[in-house]
């Protein structure tokens, strides 16, 4: 599938930059590199080879080889490759050079590695990022010797990020009637202009990775993975299952792959309809909101019919799916899709005719292409800023190689572009489902004899409605040794600073919503320097 020449180029590049090991398997290239040579390799991959940055995963491998390890995962989307760069460090002096100045997209995951595994990064400012400010020093939750149910008694701490020199300070949130998810935004405004943004999240960090690595079994984790996100959970469970399948080289029956793809697209449709509704609501167009959600309801009912549940479908297992699609359901899908398509087109047409809506969408919340590339943003945010990337096409998984679809790309980088990307994707998803139903192969939906050997490594991605999910797994006995999840919003929130600065306060909620943030799956803190005047806390959706 992947051109041998390209692999050889990577081998040459890696070895010339001092990599100590190079391996290749399927769509993933593994490179091991010394700490001293990491930065050189990262720069070459990110800027010369033009790879995107997916995430990094710090791992406590002391029980295997006595070291801590850091895996930087890059993605060469054009050539359909994942590039995993591994660096070792000693547990008693765990220092690794930071690459966040070369690869700005690596900023957050380095801080996360520092917080949760205790990897120190040289050449950058490190600060408490994910854990509460009062968390004991030197206690790293993702180290293997920390029990999953250990609870340090923590004193209550406030939510203020910094003090404003001006008196208008309201420390509201993260729990507030106007906030739909626990998170905390501070917008610094001069008049109605936003001059600075501060964000603090992680209130709903649930230690999912730790839980999976300790208490649960391979098949149980499918259901946990689904609960990472309340809107696009199925993407996470597919991503988890396919990563394990990839690691264990399990052949999943084709029919199961098709069903996964179909349900994934059903989820995309309802997620985008939800978003379009919320965008309308934020613009005061509640009628559009209600009708978008009315159409979405048809899709939710369909999802329940196909899987047994409106949300958290629970049909994924490693090796296949649990629920088949029969002829009757096939008919019902096609009927529903027809209704949805007709209604959706009419609604979008009407919505884009509302003068205030278009005025407030166009030219607001601009994310220029270069900035988008620098931060390796994903999903509709990337495609709205002219980055042509979509995992479904670039690294096809499930049954996407059987469907033809266009990846919508808009160049303006404003809120309207991101809306249009999503509108196009809803129609695209409808077409994909039709194509896949048409070709749905016969056969089993579950692989027989599932065996998962220890010590295998795999990473894979799924294009969720909000962008790519990345899962990284090192297999262990009966459960993963390490499971790292990167949700799309994780990659997109840093772009908000660029979108919001200089923006009108009134458009800020929409701009924040325009990345379709999902805080339960992301939950980070974001602090920007400077700014004064008023501090205000922004109400936000779900």
């Amino acid at each position: 599938m992947v051109n041998k020449q390209i692999i050889d180029n990577y081998r040459e590049l890696a070895l010339s930059l001092g990599a100590s090991d190079f391996a290749h398997s399927g769509d993933t290239v593994y490179i091991v590199v010394d700490r001293e040579r990491l930065r050189g390799l990262a720069e070459a991959l990110y800027w010369k080879k033009n790879c995107y940055f997916r995430t990094c995963a710090a791992t406590d491998e002391t029980k295997i080889n006595g070291f801590l390890a850091l895996y930087h995962i890059f993605g060469d989307d054009r050539n359909g490759l994942n590039i995993v760069v591994k660096t070792y460090t000693e547990p008693n002096n765990p220092v690794i050079p930071s690459i966040s100045d070369i690869v700005p997209a690596a900023d957050w995951c380095e801080l996360e590695a520092y917080d949760l595994v205790g990897v120190e990064f040289s050449g950058r400012k490190l600060y408490r990022f994910m854990l509460p400010p009062t968390w004991p020093k030197g206690l790293y939750p993702l180290r293997k010797d920390t029990p999953y149910n250990y609870r340090p008694g923590l004193p209550v701490s406030g939510e203020r990020i910094s003090e404003s020199p001006v008196s208008a300070v309201v420390p509201v949130g993260p729990y507030h009637p106007a906030l739909h998810e626990p998170e905390y935004f501070e917008l610094y405004v001069e008049g109605e202009k936003v001059v600075d943004v501060k964000y603090r999240g992680f209130h709903v960090h649930r230690g999912i990775e730790k839980l999976a690595e300790t208490r649960m079994t391979y098949q149980q984790i499918n259901f946990l993975a689904e609960r990472i996100c309340g809107i696009c959970g199925f993407e996470h469970s597919v991503c988890y299952a396919q990563t394990v399948e990839k690691a264990a080289k399990i052949d999943v029956p084709e029919r199961a792959l098709f069903i996964r793809s179909i349900v994934l697209e059903v989820e995309r449709i309802h997620s985008h309809l939800l978003w379009i509704g919320v965008a309308a609501h934020l613009l005061g167009y509640d009628t559009g909101f209600m009708h978008s959600w009315r159409i979405r309801e048809l899709v939710m009912y369909l999802a329940e019919l196909l899987t047994g549940s409106r949300k958290t479908y629970g049909i994924n297992l490693i090796g296949g799916v649990r629920k088949d699609i029969n002829e009757e359901k096939k008919k019902k899908i096609l009927e529903t899709l027809e209704l949805v398509e007709k209604d959706f087109k009419k609604l979008v047409d009407t919505m884009l005719g509302v003068p205030e809506l278009v005025k407030r969408l166009k030219g607001t919340g601009i994310l220029p292409r270069e900035e988008a590339r620098k931060l390796s943003v994903v999903g509709p945010v990337a495609r709205g800023s002219g980055l042509d990337r979509d995992i479904r096409r670039d690294l096809p998984y499930a049954a996407y190689s059987y469907a033809e679809f266009k990846v919508p790309v808009y160049d303006d980088g404003d809120n309207l572009s991101r809306l249009l990307v999503r509108v196009d994707e809803v129609l695209g998803s409808i077409s994909i489902i039709r194509q896949l139903l048409d070709q749905l192969p016969r056969g089993e939906i579950m692989a027989e004899d599932i065996e998962i050997p220890e010590g295998r490594i795999a990473t894979s991605s799924v294009e969720a409605p909000r962008g790519e999910n990345v899962h990284f797994i090192i297999t262990g006995r009966g459960k993963p040794y390490r499971w790292r999840i990167r949700a799309p919003t994780y990659q997109n929130i840093p772009a908000l600073k660029i979108m919001l600065e200089g923006e009108n306060l009134a458009d800020a909620p929409l701009t924040i919503a325009s990345i379709d943030p999902c805080f339960s799956c992301t939950d980070r803190i974001y602090v920007i320097r400077g700014g004064n005047r008023y501090r205000m806390i922004l109400p936000r959706r779900y």
Binding site: E304, G308, S309, L347
Partner: protein, 173 residues
């Protein structure tokens, strides 16, 4: 329509009509495939614990209680309605329902339990497994009747003794 195209929303609304329901005075929209609360048939359950091992959120747990009882507890409050227990149950004792109106002001309503009598070892009188699981094993594999009466401990000792006898050596213990 040109610039006044947005007025069309009134047409859309008229076509769609009224879509919300006067639930709970009208039946809810639940599809035929909906996964709701599970029901455990205590006459069929053998207390083998497969469901407990499969259950992702620990809604099903098993514990030994009192004198000679093994209790399978189902707490709806933790249940995620995945029906994995139904998949793995060897005797089809668990049935799925479409019931979802489970709210209650009494938390005890959310608990269910199946109480099993534990089997006692014919040799040491120690407790092990359940009476029904023992019967199930004997029914499925009649050949086991020679040792199914004994607890795992005694069974192992018996086996070790058999080895000893054959090899003429001493037991490691």
């Amino acid at each position: 329509m040109g610039k006044l195209g947005f007025v069309k929303i009134l047409v859309i609304a008229a076509e769609a009509g009224r879509v919300t329901r006067k639930y709970p005075y009208e039946p809810p929209l639940v599809s035929s495939d909906f996964r709701g609360k599970i029901e455990i048939d205590e006459t069929k359950c053998i207390g083998c614990g497969s469901c407990v091992l499969a259950c992702p959120p620990n809604a099903l747990v098993m514990s030994d209680e009192g004198e000679g009882y093994r209790v399978l507890k189902y707490f709806v409050g933790r249940c995620i309605f995945c029906w994995r227990c139904i998949d793995v149950c060897p005797v089809d004792a668990i049935k799925g329902t479409r019931e979802f109106e489970l709210a209650t002001d009494n938390v005890e309503d959310l608990d269910e339990a199946v109480i099993h009598k534990r089997a006692s070892c014919t040799e040491c009188n120690g407790l092990y497994s359940t009476v029904k699981q023992k019967a199930y094993v004997m029914e499925k594999a009649p050949i086991t009747e020679n040792y199914v009466d004994k607890c795992p401990e005694c069974r192992r000792n018996k086996l070790l003794r058999a080895f000893e006898k054959r090899r003429g050596g001493e037991s490691l213990e």
